[in-house]
Point group: C2
Chain length 457, copies 2
Amino acid sequence: MYLLNPKSKKPLHIQLYEALKKEIASQHKVGDKLPSIRHIAAEYHLSKTTVESAYAQLYAEGYVESRAKSGYFVSALYDEDFAHPSPPLPTPKAKKTPYRYDFFPAQLDKESFPLKLWKRLYVKSINESIDFGAYPNGQGELGLREAIAHYLNHSRGVKCDASQLVICSGFSDAMGLLAKLVRHQYSHFGIESPGYHVAKGVFEAYGYSINHIPLSPQGICLDALKTSAAKLLYITPSHQYPTGITMPLSHRLKLLEYIDQVDGLIIEDDYDSELVYANRPIPALQGLDKHHRVVYMGTFAKALSPALRVSYMVLPPRLVETFQKSPDANFSRVNLMTQLTLEAFISGGHWERHLRKVRTLNKKKHNLMLQLFQEHLGNTYHILAQGGGLAILIMPSVPFDWQKFHTLLAKHHIKIYLAKEKSGGEFEAIRMGFGGFSQEALKEAVEVFGGVWRECI
Amino acid sequence: MYLLNPKSKKPLHIQLYEALKKEIASQHKVGDKLPSIRHIAAEYHLSKTTVESAYAQLYAEGYVESRAKSGYFVSALYDEDFAHPSPPLPTPKAKKTPYRYDFFPAQLDKESFPLKLWKRLYVKSINESIDFGAYPNGQGELGLREAIAHYLNHSRGVKCDASQLVICSGFSDAMGLLAKLVRHQYSHFGIESPGYHVAKGVFEAYGYSINHIPLSPQGICLDALKTSAAKLLYITPSHQYPTGITMPLSHRLKLLEYIDQVDGLIIEDDYDSELVYANRPIPALQGLDKHHRVVYMGTFAKALSPALRVSYMVLPPRLVETFQKSPDANFSRVNLMTQLTLEAFISGGHWERHLRKVRTLNKKKHNLMLQLFQEHLGNTYHILAQGGGLAILIMPSVPFDWQKFHTLLAKHHIKIYLAKEKSGGEFEAIRMGFGGFSQEALKEAVEVFGGVWRECI
């Protein structure tokens, strides 16, 4: 006897399915024959379709099996464990960073994100006229691409229009896209040594051979490049990672000429040129290129927020075509709402205002850190790079007990970052980030750091 | 004579840089010697550092070159084109879909997105306690992972905890991550034929060999799988793409047993099980697996919005470890704000309420479409799949003039989608999507479509 209620909001076939399931679990054993569809339909005044639906569900879930011309039977595969899924495993607790002073070199000031403005723009930009039921433009929203192209044209000397831009969810994502686009043309990936490990990692994952090209004082060494197999080259010409070298124009032109001769391609990573404050940022290499030999990579992670997960790349026209024919062009990589808010942020002039604000803020902290080093480290260090980004690179200029240094840092809960951890090779420097500290906190942090440092001389 | 104003907000070295640049452009020719640093410093009462900064910038931008012990000269590389970047190329206009009736099978109802609630949750979730200066958790926010794990446990029978989840920016992104994680273990990628082309495309891009495994009426054909080289297998067991087959339990268990024997791995794509409304969705294959042989893929694109660009995967414990050691674990793939809003949406019970709402809405449209087919196509068609997702699959059951059909569709601005376009092979079906239409619009669309259809019989 199945208790079915035709007035319930629950469909009859689901009610019947549940009743049958209960009956199987409590009254039947494997192999028992179940009542026929016809029988149940007649007994309970149900349509045949309703009963079939209930049996179909029991069949799909493995409670019953069907034998040709004989009807339904309790399945041999009926599985107690399936009917009663085991409880989930315990969830691990979130790990908190135990450091008291963290000199992370890519940390932005927590307070600098324009939170109220961003929320206001979000609420304003996200409205009923947007189709949330459709897949957004795979290349990124046109309006956002136009806003970025305009900014790049007049602030970074990049020659491009919106059709050349692809909006990506961070640098690795953009590099992965590019690795797919050019892998039929190039098999070797040239990178500055020392250089940015993340860039290398992405191309390695796609099977490229890696060529490490040493640096000259002007940036990547051209002679070494010429003797390597790399025609595809990843560089950071505005502010070399991690040494901070700015590649002079003469060198840029020679490099572009060579790359054009060998039918090559340059990936220009302009990751933090917005944050150069000792001088004005030098215009992008891409703007000097007359033969469509440069892919330009930019990000909002270093000056606005890494939590946004928005970056972009500017492709030469021939790669735009390749991209548009690729499967990646079908799916946007970034949340539509984030794109629309960012478009409003840039178009409304807030992005450039924000850049001026963070440049001033960072310059203050940068200069404060220089002054604090002078105060607490005296004449026991030298500076390897300064004047841009979110870190100053230093090294001891006197004999130094590194082992004691690391022990004491751990004891005082201080976290520092060595350049070679992320760029490999022989480049020795401590990347002292100031971005995450308030000015007051920076004073305290460098004072404690200086105490440790002096014990190791 | 350089006009420098010490009271200006513009730093002196920038003022000097601009004055020198102007002088070079208007008064000098290539090779001219420029005043020495010492001379300018003395003449204008500036520090040597200020003048050096101005020259450094001119050097970096290529206006001047430095000769050892002789000073600075106007550079031979000075380039008019560089000083005056050419105007940007014209921006192409956005292309609008010209179709009047678009039966796109993955379109959601525009109105079904909970816009006001979403904005409210966004504004509430995004607050001062969040660190916008830091890189978010590379695996996805713990809170969001917990909320999804809880939902999967009790609604989909998936056995997992938050530590096994990775939040991704869409299905392709998740598949790309996975392709990297398992490529040292597997070289062949098995996929249902017909199957979902996008899945195949991602693994092809990472160099996997593709094995097309035919379907049996129970889903993927086990005998064919056994004779293939594929131990890594991509399947859609809840609602096979595109045929709609639900794999019965007996077949699921046999498949899991085989995959465990050969040390293999199943990728279970559970893309639209939330939208099964003819029966209750069958629990996930992952929940039956006792040997950690299943990666579970889910998405918010089919039931909430494809514009969100949020999907997720559940990894077996050994792959969680591999992931956490990989470079991809360093960078989140999804905007932090979107993650926090989605967490609030799920935790607040809105996701399950929303699912009930869209299931009811889609069921209505689905049944309406069935009724409209009956009305306008009469007995000239048969149904290949129905009862789930956002489309009904049909084919003519009578001789049919396909050429005339396509011509007339174009004439009436009707867009239809053939299953083989996205799944290859021999599977012939028209995937008639109803998700994007209101009920009124659906009536009109199928009426016009029916008129075209009848002319082709």
